[in-house]
Amino acid sequence: MKRQITLILTILSLCILFILQPSKNSSAVVTGDCEACHGLYPGMMEEAEPGKPPQYVLKNVLCVNCHSNADRDTIKMLGGARVPVVYNTVSPVRPLAGGNFHYVAKDFGERKGHNVEAVTSMDDRFKRAPPGYDRLADPSIIGYNPEKPLKCAGSNGCHGNRNVEDPFDSIMGAHHADDSIIDGSTTARSYRFLKNTNNVKGVVGLEDDEWNQNRTSKKHNEYSASIDLLCASCHGNFHSKNKTGKESPWFRHPTDIVLPKSGEYTSYNPDVPPPLGNESQRPDRPDIRIYSPDAPVGREKVPKSPSDEIKLGEDIVICLSCHVAHSGPYESILRWDYEAIIAGEEGKGGCFICHTGKGE
């Protein structure tokens, strides 16, 4: 009897361990062959004096090189690690959530993306300064330096700790740290390593394990308003209430505000109404709509799993509702072709996902 109880307890313990083991998607700690990432080129690491750590050379291109692909795939394997591709040198298939720098690297026009070093040259149109930059809204102690190019990370970039100028130093260790909890406390524990600075809480969100490559209304990243604060670090005038107005009338398109549960917004994503018979059709839940990956919203509280429901009056309009972060095929890094958004002609999609009354 005693042996039987021991056996049962052992099996139960193993089952619990199996259940509780971290799933492959819950952590983005890089695993695999070191050489795959750290030995891309001969001479990638420069010789250092004895006792001092070796230094990387070609820092300005290394991020991009690892996260690039010569073919059309937007997730590639590198030494056993799945690497999200932000830059395909050929036209990408199913770009990831941040878009793809392909569109700004080619001669498609520099309004189609952030002019990141190692992808393309510094931009002329905006005279190198981030549009709407407000030094007071930038928590970085260094601030954005328009004399230097936009970089992936650091004080002139988006990822890592923006209190550090050097992109590599700013993100150092993040790829090897435990990021099973995204709470914005460290670079690794910030959504997509978007820490902003070490003085402020980093971006929080739910990271889709395929970087939104196969996004649907049920499977996608989950954003929070914290991502707006990151955008505002460089584009502060577009976020500050003093610069955008206060409710009605707005002076600039607002962000970081709830999607109203009145007016035209009650028909959010009109092409995909809540299904008949669904709980959302009940009179006690009139404020539920179906999530559109083409005009996503942020959540006040990041859910543990992606939701296909939009709660009007609660979910939040964010910068990424209209824009992608890196680059896309459309001007102003919009998620859609603004030129094709025609009011008053029964248009669909794009702006009309939220502004449902303007398309009619």
Binding site: F126, S248, F251, I342, A343, G357, K358
Partner: protein, 390 residues
């Protein structure tokens, strides 16, 4: 008749029968083509007329972040950003080229009437703020001193002449006072357009440009005549540019001056003592119909209600609609070309709404109006047909 002749005659008959059939077919074909063309032609106008909501690219009127070129952009020298993400507020669209020669500017698919321009003979129905615009040799007596175009006038003209406090307006009550420092705005409590119960001009007109206004019933700002909340009427598709006497704005009037949806009531909301509606100046300020003594020139009355009756009156002489001295109708269509005893005198019979080339925003030069020797069918004499000659 010989057999041969009969045969020829039969052949002739058959031929002419065949010809008649041919003609009939041709006639039917022509009729069908004509009908189709007429329908198509009518459809073209029908489409334009039934729905005047703004069409076109968002960017033609809006600037999402006001960030173009990396520097703050300005419209007409004014600094933004502007309310409702507009490219320069009301005037950014409707007065975008003060010195230009276009009275209607087309941007993409949107046709935008200009209230401030310098096109010769191009004034639209409401006139042209050019005559009072600072920087263009203004004469403030010629129009409304609108914020953004003109400076405010000195007292007593800093307050609307004949203003009455707290009059009833569509949806509420007008301002309890008109502070001297309060300048006229396009819309809102201190303006004409939009819902005047809402102080902020942009909030007061919010959404109107995107409303289906194929039916003008005054129920919302978007469904009101020219976004003048509560007012009804028929809108000429070119804002009366090149209007004709049978294709013009259709102004709504009420011969009993007891309705609030007339164009004259809108004027009366600010210039209350000039309107005989009981909510406004009433008979105490203006006088009464069928009474020989008007205290002020009446508005919202019909020719039939004049003292002594219409028959034999000078107003019988006004028979064809005049674009110079238009009249209102109970149920305007914009296509009326006959004027009769039921036609209604309104504020806009004599005045323009925005500004004109004449003092007092009149449609004509009052100084050129001469009794007994005036040019007939012009100015005041369009209605007062017997005053112009002996």
């Amino acid at each position: 008749m010989s057999k041969e002749q009969r045969t020829i005659s039969k052949e002739h008959g058959a031929k002419s029968m065949e010809q008649r059939k041919k003609y009939k077919k041709l006639y039917a074909l022509c009729l069908i083509i004509f009908t189709l063309c007429s329908m198509l032609y009518a459809l073209c106008f029908f489409t334009v007329d039934v729905d005047a909501r703004v069409k076109g690219k968002c960017k033609d009127c809006h600037s999402m972040h006001y960030s173009s070129g990396g520097k703050e952009i300005t419209y007409g020298g004014r600094e933004g950003p502007f309310p409702v993400l507009t490219e320069g507020g009301c005037l950014g669209c409707h007065g975008q080229s003060p010195n230009g020669n276009q009275n209607i500017i087309t941007m993409g698919k949107t046709r935008i009437p200009q209230v401030l321009h310098h096109m010769e003979n191009g004034d639209l129905a409401a006139g042209n703020f050019y005559y009072v615009a600072d920087g263009y040799n203004p004469d403030y007596s010629k129009g409304h001193n609108l914020k953004g175009i003109s400076l405010q006038e000195s007292p007593p003209m800093d307050v609307p002449p004949a203003f009455i406090r707290s009059v009833i307006i569509p949806g509420g009550i007008g301002p309890a006072d008109w502070p001297g420092q309060q300048q006229l705005t396009c819309a809102g409590t201190w303006g004409c357009h939009g819902d005047r119960n809402i102080e902020d001009p942009f909030k007061s007109i919010y959404g109107a440009h995107h409303t289906d206004d194929s039916e003008i019933d005054g129920s919302t700002v978007g469904k009101s005549y020219r976004f003048l909340y509560g007012i009804t009427g028929k809108e000429h598709k070119d804002w009366e540019y090149l209007a004709t006497i049978d294709n013009h704005n259709g102004y709504r009037g009420d011969m009993n001056h007891s309705s609030m949806d007339t164009i004259s009531y809108l004027c009366g909301e600010c210039h209350a003592r000039f309107h005989p509606h009981p909510n406004l100046g009433g008979s105490r300020e203006v006088g009464q119909v069928y009474n020989p003594l008007w205290l002020r020139h009446p508005s919202d009355i019909a020719f039939s209600t004049v003292h002594g009756g219409f028959a034999g009156s000078e107003y019988q002489g006004y028979v064809k609609y005049s674009l110079e001295a238009p009249v209102a109708f109970d149920k305007p269509t914009g296509g009326e070309n006959d004027v009769d005893m039921n036609s209604i005198i309104m504020c806009l019979s004599c005045h323009r709404a925005h500004a004109s080339q004449n003092p007092d925003t009149l449609r004509w030069d009052y100084n050129s109006m001469f009794a007994r020797s005036g040019a007939p069918e012009t100015g005041c004499l369009t209605c007062h047909t017997k005053k112009g000659h002996d």
